[in-house]
């Protein structure tokens, strides 16, 4: 069987600098891969390439064996690649419910319907409310997204991803900026998605306890390159990973 997502020699250069360099790896259903790496390692850029926000300079991306390198972000979203953003990226003036319903609607393909029946409408709203209950946002459903505190905006980011009902979930530091009360809700949700063995999950996360609790596999990016990839114990024991995580310069150019 084909991997759900596969990248081959994936590279993107900004100016002369390769933010993602020659990354080849494959992700399979039922597997949660945590992507780690220091700031600026290229994790978000890798996501941008997979979900189509950026076009690679070189290399290919395959979904279930099909080359999707040239397809648009919307086509990729429709094909089941779902992605939450590290920097909150919502529809600020629309209500929390409308934000979520938009994602449900896109999934159901009812966007273009102009004169749709009210019944179909409330069905979409009900589905959106389910995702809001799951992310504990149901009580603020009618507030504009811009009015939410930061932690709730992060949750809404996740609610949108859930509402897309994708096969491939990409979370980019989903709990960053959340309080200690809020983060477990999101981690439990990811745990729940993980139970469904047909889903592929990619998670960028810094917190080591989270990584240990959730990872089936760890991929380490460093200066855009995939420097380690394997099961958590092996990867965490690798000298290069220890060096990166202890902040010891590798090749003498490591910043921050």
């Amino acid at each position: 069987m084909h991997p759900s997502i596969e990248t081959r020699n994936l590279t993107i250069r900004f100016g002369g600098h390769a933010a993602v360099a020659n990354v080849s790896c494959a992700f399979r259903p039922g597997e949660l891969t945590v992507i780690v790496g220091p700031n600026g390692a290229g994790k978000t850029t890798f996501f941008n390439l997979v979900s189509g926000q950026l076009r690679p300079s070189e290399g290919t991306i395959l979904k279930a064996g099909r080359d999707i390198t040239a397809t648009s972000p919307s086509a990729r979203a429709k094909s089941g690649i779902g992605r939450a953003f590290q920097l909150t990226n919502l529809f600020p003036k629309l209500s929390v419910l409308e934000n979520t319903r938009l994602a449900v609607q896109a999934r159901r393909g009812v966007g273009p319907r102009i004169f749709s029946r009210a019944a179909a409408w409330s069905d979409l709203g009900e589905r959106a409310m389910e995702h809001l209950r799951a992310t504990r946002l149901d009580k603020v459903a009618l507030l504009p997204a811009a009015a939410l505190p930061h932690g709730d905006q992060r949750k809404l980011e996740v609610a949108l991803l859930l509402a897309m009902e994708p096969d491939i979930f990409m979370f980019d530091e989903p709990t960053a900026g959340m309080s200690v009360h809020e983060a477990p809700v999101i981690l439990e949700l990811i745990e729940t998605i993980k139970q469904d063995k047909s889903k592929t999950i990619l998670l960028v996360e810094h917190k080591m306890d989270v990584v240990r609790a959730l990872a089936d596999r760890i991929a380490v990016l460093h200066n855009g390159a995939l420097v380690a990839d394997g099961n958590p114990e092996t990867v965490m024991a690798m000298p290069i990973v220890r060096e990166i995580y202890l902040g010891t310069p590798v090749g003498g150019e490591e910043a921050a």
Binding site: P73, S74, A77, G111, P112, L124, L142
Partner: protein, 366 residues
């Protein structure tokens, strides 16, 4: 439990006072327009009322673009003009008849659709400012064409023609026992009444259709594109396709409004349809009423039209009434009406930064 709290929130949102005020104003305007021939029977008022009806449809369709989707276009009068000129040319060439209105109108709408698709697909994927420039260029070309092809369009003078017979003042809609045209509440039931209600009901239908569009799933997608186009793309919406679609829908509605305008005026020329002065009127009406509200179109068009038509009269009356007071009569000199119109705009924009409807609804929403 959570559901009931959500429902009560929604109820609170729906029944806040600002919203009620906006709906009340819009309903009052709607009723005034519905009974305009009886409330304001003079010729000039009829003219103002018909213009308000048609411009509500025209301005609301522009609001679909600028207010809901965030598309800035300067080609709206071009689409309005296509509908009007199509109808006018057909009425001129084929004589007054519904077949001419239908054929000419259809040709105008078809031209609007083709142009809108072409402009949309070619340039809606580029930067907003570039798109605005393309629409400006297209509108200018259309104005040049209208004045150059004078055999067809009448050039700068425009076209004068007759409307279908039903709308002729000589047509008797109802006759009394004596065979003369019947008067209801002192208003003669002639073709002019038929023309007004044709305009009123058609504009009303267009407005309700647009209310449905903005309340549909499509309406929310348009707002999403306005708010955050990259995210809309990221959750699966083809932004260019949606932008083009709404651009075409707005163009069709503008062209339909143009058909009404041409049929009502029995004259079509650059000054009544294509000119940039009208484009600026549309922009001001949308801004004064409130962008992205639909109801704002009703309020904006009414306020602007009343000011444009009656401010001069009002000032004349004011100047006469204040004749004995030193400075006032000079200030109220009717020739200075444009100055006062400008002052009115500035005050409106200052006190209603989100437009009249937009600001009222927001205030009470908080």
């Amino acid at each position: 439990m959570t559901d009931t709290s959500a429902t009560s929130h929604r109820a609170a949102k729906r029944f806040n006072t600002g919203r009620i005020a906006v709906y009340a104003i819009v309903a009052a305007i709607g009723l005034a327009l519905m009974f305009a021939p009886f409330l304001f029977p003079d010729v000039r008022s009829q003219q103002v009322a018909a213009r308000i009806c048609i411009f509500i449809a025209l301005v609301a369709s522009y609001d679909l673009l600028i207010g809901y989707t965030g598309i800035v276009s300067f080609a709206h009068t071009m689409f309005f003009g296509l509908g009007a000129y199509g109808t006018a040319i057909a009425l001129k060439q084929m004589g007054p008849g519904w077949d001419a209105v239908f054929l000419g109108g259809s040709a105008g709408v078809a031209a609007a659709i083709i142009l809108a698709i072409a402009i949309g697909l070619l340039s809606l994927r580029v930067k907003a400012i570039f798109f605005a420039m393309v629409t400006l260029a297209a509108a200018s070309v259309m104005m040049v064409l209208a004045s150059q092809l004078s055999d067809f369009t009448g050039g700068e003078d425009g076209l004068v023609y007759s409307a279908p017979k039903l709308f002729s003042p000589a047509t008797k809609l109802m006759t009394g026992d004596d065979g003369k045209v019947l008067a209801v509440f002192d208003v003669r039931m002639n073709g002019k009444i038929a023309a007004y209600y044709f305009v009123f009901l058609s504009s009303l239908a267009l407005f309700f259709a647009m209310l449905r569009i903005v309340a549909s799933p499509l309406g929310t997608v348009l707002e999403a594109i306005r708010e955050n186009e990259l995210r809309a793309e990221a959750i699966g919406y083809r932004v260019v396709a949606y932008r083009t679609a709404i651009f075409v829908i707005a163009a069709v509605i503008a062209a339909l409004a143009g058909i009404l305008w041409a049929t009502w005026l029995k004259y079509t020329g650059p000054d009544t349809t294509l000119s940039f002065a009208i484009m600026i009127d549309i922009l001001l009406m949308v801004v004064i009423g409130g962008m992205g509200t639909m109801h704002g179109a009703v309020i904006g068009v009414t306020v602007m039209s009343l000011a444009q038509f009656y401010l001069k009269d009002l000032m004349e009356a004011g100047a006469i009434a204040t004749a004995d007071i030193p400075v006032l009569p000079h200030l109220l000199e009717p020739d200075r009406w444009l100055l006062w119109l400008g002052v009115l705009f500035i005050l409106l924009v200052y006190f209603f930064p989100a437009g009249i409807a937009g600001t009222l609804m927001k205030k009470a929403g908080e």
